[in-house]
Amino acid sequence: MSDVLVLAEHHNSEIKKITLELVTGARALGNPVVLWLGGGCTEDTVATLGNYGATKVLVADSDAVNNHPVAPGAEIVASLIDSLTPVAVLVASTADGKEVAARAAIKSNCGIITDAVEIAADSTVTQSVFGGSTVVHSRVTKGTPIITVRPNAIPATPQPFAAVREDISVDISAGAQRVTVKDRTVVAKGARPELTEAEVVVSGGRGVGGPEGFSVIESLADSLNAAVGASRAATDAGWYPHQFQVGQTGKTVSPQLYIANGISGAIQHRAGMQTSKVVVVVNKDPEAPIFELADYGVVGDLFTVVPQLSEEITKRK
C-alpha cells in the first residue's frame, strides 16, 4: 500500500485532536506517515500516533524549522512528496497548515483543495461551502493531491499500529529562513477544551453586556464541559480575549452543540459556526437572524435563561 503523508498539528508535545483525525482519514487512502515539524515528539506521542494507525513518524527538528515559520515546513513537505511519492498529503485547515500546503503545492506542482470535511478512498474530497448550504465533491487533477481538512469533521478512531520514529534532516534553503521569530506570545488557554476541538461551544455576544457577564456563559460552558466562544462585538469591546472569537475572522467551529447567547447572527459570525450539528439560541429579540439557524431557541433574557439552564444540567447529570 502507498504512503499518505500527514502533517502533524501540535503545540510543543501536545498533539492536536485534528492530527488524530487526519491520521484516521488517511487510513482510507494508504499507510499514514506522519511528519512532525519541530520539537516535542516524545515516545508517548509516537505511540499515540501509532494508536490511530500511523506507520511512521518522521521528525524534522532543527533550528531552521523552529526559528522560521511556514517556509521551511513547505520545503520539507515538498521534498517528501518527491522522495515518498505519497498518494496524498493531508494537512490541518489552520492558518499555518493552509500556508504550508499552499507553498508546497506550488513547489511540487500539485493541486490543492482546502477545508475538506470528508475524503474518499480515491482522494475525492467533500467540502461544505457557503455556510453549509452546498455540498461539493472536488478532486485534484494534477500531481499529488494536497488536502487541508477541517477540525472536527472526521471522527478520530483508534486502529493500533506500532509506529516507528525516524529523524530526518532536510536542508532548508536560505530563502526559507528569511522570516525570523523574535518573540512568541502564548495566551493562557485555561482548563476548558480547545475552541476548535470542543464537542460543545457556548458563546456570548454583545447581549452579555460586559466582561462580568461572561461568568454566566462560563458557568454554562463548565456544566457541559464546553469551550467558550464570543462574537466579534464581545472581543472587540475587550470583554473576552480575541482568540475566542468565532466567525469569518475568528475561529471556525463545528461542534455537536453550539449555544449562542446574546448574539444577533451577523453573516460574519455565522461563517464560523454554521456547520455546527445542533444550534441552541437565547436572545431577547425574536427578530434576531440567529434564530433562523436554531434547532431550539428561547426568546428571553440570557441572564435568567442561562443560569437556569446551567442549574438544570447540573441537576440532571
Binding site: D96, A102, C110, H137, S138, Q268, V298, L309, S310
Partner: protein, 277 residues
C-alpha cells in the same frame, strides 16, 4: 503605468523612506447575498449578486495608505476579475490609492487558486514593489492561500495574518496572529503580507477621493500582455476540479419558544431529547 508625480503628492510629508506597495483586492458577491454554484460549469454564479470589494481587503488597502502616509511612497491596487471588477478597483482607488492594475481576460474564467496566483504573481513581478499586501481571505472562496502562493511564486518572504505592521528602513516587523496568541516576526523587504481585520479601521472613500479616482491611471492587462500561456490560467490551468455539487436540503425549521420563566428548563429538555445531556 501612468507616471505618478510623487514629489508633488508627498512633498509636505517628512519622508522616512519611500515604499512602493501593491494591494491585491478581489471582487466578491455581496456578503449578504445567497451564493450558488452554476449548474452548467460548477462555478460561482457571480452575475446573480452585486459585486463588492472583499471586505477583508479594505483593511489591506487601509494599511497600505497608512504606511505610505507615514513613510511616503505609492499604493497600487491590483485585481484579477471580469470587466465589472473594475468598479471594485475604482472603489479601492477612491480610498486613496494612486493607481490600479486590472487583469481581465475571458480565458481567466474557471481559474482556481493555483491559476489565480500565477496571474497575480506575473502581474506583480518586475515592478519593484517593496510590499505586497493581501486581505486574510476572500469571503467567497475562503481559502486563505493566495498570499502564500504568490509569495512562493515570487520567491519572497511571507508574513500573514498581521495584526500590526511596521516598516523601518528595509526591515519589516509584524505581529502575526496565531492559534495561541501572536508571534513577533521580522524580515527584510520586499515581502508579502496579509492583514487581519483587527489591524485598523478602513476609511470610507471621501467625495474628493471618489472624484480623484476617476482620473487615476488603471492599467488593463490581458493574459497575453502578461506573457502567460492561456493553458496555465482559467479552467485549463486549474489543478483541481469540482466533480459535482448539491444544495443541502434546508435544515428543518427549529422550535422557538418565548421564555415564561422556564426557558432554561425547556432547553435542558430539548438537550435531553437530543441525548446531549
Amino acid at each position: 503605468m501612468g507616471n505618478i508625480d510623487l514629489q508633488s503628492v508627498w512633498s509636505d510629508v517628512e519622508r522616512v523612506n519611500n515604499v512602493k506597495i501593491a494591494v491585491c483586492v478581489k471582487q466578491v458577491p455581496d456578503t449578504w447575498a445567497e451564493k450558488k454554484l452554476r449548474d452548467a460549469d460548477s462555478r460561482l454564479d457571480r452575475e446573480s449578486a452585486d459585486g463588492v470589494l472583499n471586505e477583508l481587503d479594505e483593511y489591506a488597502v487601509e494599511q497600505a495608505l497608512q504606511l505610505v502616509e507615514a513613510a511616503g511612497g505609492e499604493v497600487v491596487v491590483v485585481t484579477m476579475g471580469p470587466e465589472r471588477a473594475g468598479e471594485t478597483l475604482r472603489k479601492a482607488i477612491s480610498m486613496g490609492a494612486d493607481a490600479g492594475i486590472h487583469i481581465v481576460d475571458d480565458n481567466l474564467g474557471g481559474s482556481d487558486a493555483i491559476a489565480t496566483s500565477a496571474v497575480l504573481a506575473k502581474a506583480l513581478s518586475g515592478r519593484d514593489f517593496d510590499l505586497i499586501l493581501f486581505g486574510s481571505e476572500s469571503t467567497d472562496a475562503r481559502m486563505s492561500v493566495i498570499p502564500a502562493m504568490v509569495a512562493e511564486r515570487l520567491d519572497l518572504p511571507q508574513v500573514t495574518f498581521a495584526q500590526k505592521v511596521e516598516i523601518s528602513g528595509s526591515e519589516l516587523t509584524v505581529e502575526r496572529v496565531t492559534e495561541y496568541g501572536f508571534d513577533l516576526l521580522s524580515t527584510q523587504l520586499p515581502a508579502v503580507v496579509s492583514v487581519v481585520e483587527k489591524i485598523n479601521e478602513p476609511r470610507y472613500p471621501s467625495f474628493k477621493g471618489i472624484m480623484a479616482a476617476k482620473k487615476k491611471p488603471v492599467e488593463i492587462l490581458t493574459v497575453a500582455d502578461l506573457g502567460l500561456e492561456p493553458s496555465v490560467v482559467g479552467a485549463s490551468g486549474a489543478w483541481s476540479e469540482v466533480a459535482d455539487f448539491a444544495a443541502r436540503p434546508p435544515k428543518a425549521a427549529g422550535v422557538v419558544v418565548t421564555d415564561e420563566g422556564d426557558g432554561g428548563v425547556k432547553i435542558a429538555d430539548f438537550l435531553t431529547s437530543q441525548k446531549i445531556i
